[in-house]
């Protein structure tokens, strides 16, 4: 793990981000309709649409618009939302925090639950416990988020039970109890599927490790099982667990889109869908940039952590 390697990885990330934003830009240029048409809708006459386009700067050639945007980003200015008349950084910033709160809640809960589940399943491999956990994991991994979310809504938030609110957001600062009740279902939806993935991976890795030679050696040495697991098996399984968690960040970034939409959680996912529908180019660009950056950086960090945890891994 050299400094040179890190630099090269970072440069690659930057290149990718540049390509992604250019691609997004090109995409929205090709699309029929633009923000001005969407804003005025069926009450737009050709004159008022043209006037609004001028006002929003949509009548400039595409390369001017793109260069303008890139210049802005390098200065730290993400532009103005075409639909919402607010600075993009404000709109995206707030949404980012809301999404982060949801994602972190889901991840923390999942890590606390999924890793122990995987460990238990590996230790008690072949028993009823393993089967149950395995079944749960399989089912969890086969349900798309919108199915899980909808079923949870029907059972837990329906008029019959009314245990939890069916959506909405309360900031932890405003009311912690309110926050908890509103975050349970969306985080739970994300968490169920994440738990399924992670616990399966942990189980699989743990099983491999438990069958490996040095564990056999430790057992032969007469060490107690608990110690074997804690001092020898667990640390070696952690590296792949981190790898899986980082892979799941990718899933999380996608799952969040659907979950936020269903539960009316004002985060990046919902913002993206709204921006795509309304052709709000600066917001689409900013959200894509942000999501791609988070993903790329988390992969990079995961790679570093794995290398640190597992000295057998070598990087050119």
């Amino acid at each position: 793990m050299t400094f040179g390697y890190l630099l090269r990885r970072l440069a690659a990330v930057l290149l990718v981000l540049f390509i992604v934003t250019f691609a997004v830009f090109a995409i929205t240029m090709i699309l029929p309709g633009n923000a001005a048409i969407m804003i005025l809708g069926e009450y737009g006459t050709p004159e008022s649409v043209a006037a609004l386009e001028r006002q929003l700067g949509l009548d400039r050639p595409w390369y001017v618009q793109y260069a303008d945007w890139v210049g802005g980003v390098l200065r730290g200015d993400l532009g103005q939302s075409l639909r919402l008349s607010l600075p993009v950084s404000e709109v995206v910033g707030q949404a980012f925090w809301n999404s982060a709160v949801l994602a972190v809640t889901a991840l923390v809960a999942v890590t606390v639950i999924a890793i122990p589940l995987g460990v238990v399943a590996a230790i008690r491999r072949g028993t009823a416990a393993d089967l149950v956990i395995g079944l749960f994991a399989y089912i969890g991994a086969s349900m798309p988020e919108f199915v899980t979310a909808t079923l949870l809504l029907v059972f837990l938030a329906g008029p019959a039970t009314g245990l939890l609110p069916a959506g909405g957001f309360v900031a932890p600062g405003e009311s912690f109890a309110g926050f908890v009740s509103h975050v349970l279902l969306p985080a739970g939806t994300l968490g169920l599927i994440l738990t399924a993935h992670i616990s399966r991976q942990v189980r699989s890795e743990m099983s491999d490790v438990l069958a490996s030679d040095y564990i056999r050696a430790a057992r032969l040495k007469g060490l107690r099982e608990r110690r074997v697991i804690r001092r020898h098996a667990l640390p070696n399984s952690l590296a792949p667990a981190v790898a899986v968690i980082s892979l799941d960040i990718g899933y999380l970034l996608g799952g969040i889109i659907v979950v936020e939409e269903i539960f009316a959680w004002p985060g990046l996912g919902r913002l993206l869908i709204y921006a795509l529908e309304n052709r709000d180019l600066p917001v689409i660009q900013a959200v894509t940039l942000l999501l791609a950056t988070v993903y790329a950086l988390s992969n990079l960090i995961a790679d570093i952590v794995i290398a640190l945890l597992d000295p057998r891994v070598r990087y050119a």
């Binding site: 086969s142 079923l151 899933y251 996608g254 889109i257 939409e261």
Partner: protein, 274 residues
């Protein structure tokens, strides 16, 4: 192959897949009603003698719609995966066999594409192409290609140094022959396993796109779209969302279980441990 059917996951997977296959192949013939026909007098009712799974907001029979939607939902999954696997395998094999700068360039590009989270990538492509099943399938295939290429490549790389390949090279066999007769058949294993599991993802993503209104369009009976359209009625008749939702889960589950069993049976370490 038969070993798969000895493990519980294999059996469960095979059972589910058989059910799915029946629905896809024979569904339209077995369906009791025209999936689009309205029965307004009995709208939004649960299971009954006349409608085994209930009816939706227009009074359309849910069982018939489910069977009718099987080909499009599953077909989407299979089609997108086949396309993605096909394209990805070709690219990965090229990278793996060619080596050198060709390999490097392809890897860089793949890394770049893999930097974008899958659903986001799919969403962006689908938005360009406009909604619709064909476009969504293309988008998902494109999103799968880099991942599949990577797997194909690493599979090829590990085969390249096997004795039988080296022997073929020593014999002076032409490149194409080596690739087609020695490398590919042995590299296919991991690719097929990955592909089977990917079908379940493709089904889920396809349903999600249908749900978001970016995939199948009304009045299609694609299962994700059925859930989306049924949501506003879900408290009046939960069957409207439960039926397609559970069907999606079962189909994805079937492919998942079968793919895992396949992987276990192909992996020599695991079959030794049993």
């Amino acid at each position: 192959m038969p070993e798969i059917l000895r493990s519980p996951t294999g059996i469960a997977g095979a059972v589910l897949l058989s059910l799915v296959a029946v629905a896809v192949l024979a569904g339209s013939f077995v369906a009791p009603y025209d999936p689009q026909a309205f029965h307004p007098a009995t709208r939004l009712t649960g299971p009954s003698a006349a409608h085994w799974l209930g009816t939706d907001q227009f009074g359309r029979d849910l069982l018939s719609r489910l069977l009718n939607g099987a080909p499009s939902t599953i077909g989407f999954g299979l089609g997108a995966t086949l396309l993605g696997v096909g394209a990805g395998t070709v690219i990965g094999v090229i990278a793996g066999t060619a080596g050198g700068w060709v390999d490097s360039v392809i890897m860089r590009v793949l890394d770049g594409l893999l930097a974008v989270p899958e659903l986001l990538f799919t969403l962006l492509i689908v938005t360009i192409l406009g909604g619709g099943m064909g476009q969504a399938m293309l988008a998902v295939a494109l999103a799968f290609t880099p991942g599949m290429a990577r797997i194909a490549r690493s599979s090829v790389l590990s085969i390249r140094t096997r004795e039988y390949v080296l022997a073929a090279v020593a014999r002076g066999e032409p490149g194409c022959y080596i690739v087609l007769r020695e490398v590919l058949p042995n590299a296919l294993g991991p690719i097929i396993v990955e592909a089977t599991i990917r079908v379940s993802f493709a089904i889920m993503i396809g349903a999600t796109l249908g749900f978001l209104g970016l995939g199948a369009q009304p009045p299609s009976t694609e299962w994700g779209l059925m859930v989306a359209e049924g949501r506003q009625f879900m408290f009046r008749n939960p069957w409207v969302v439960a039926v397609p939702g559970v069907a999606i889960a079962l189909a994805a589950l079937g492919f998942n279980l079968f793919g895992d069993a396949l992987r276990d049976s192909l992996d020599p370490r695991r079959s030794v441990r049993g």
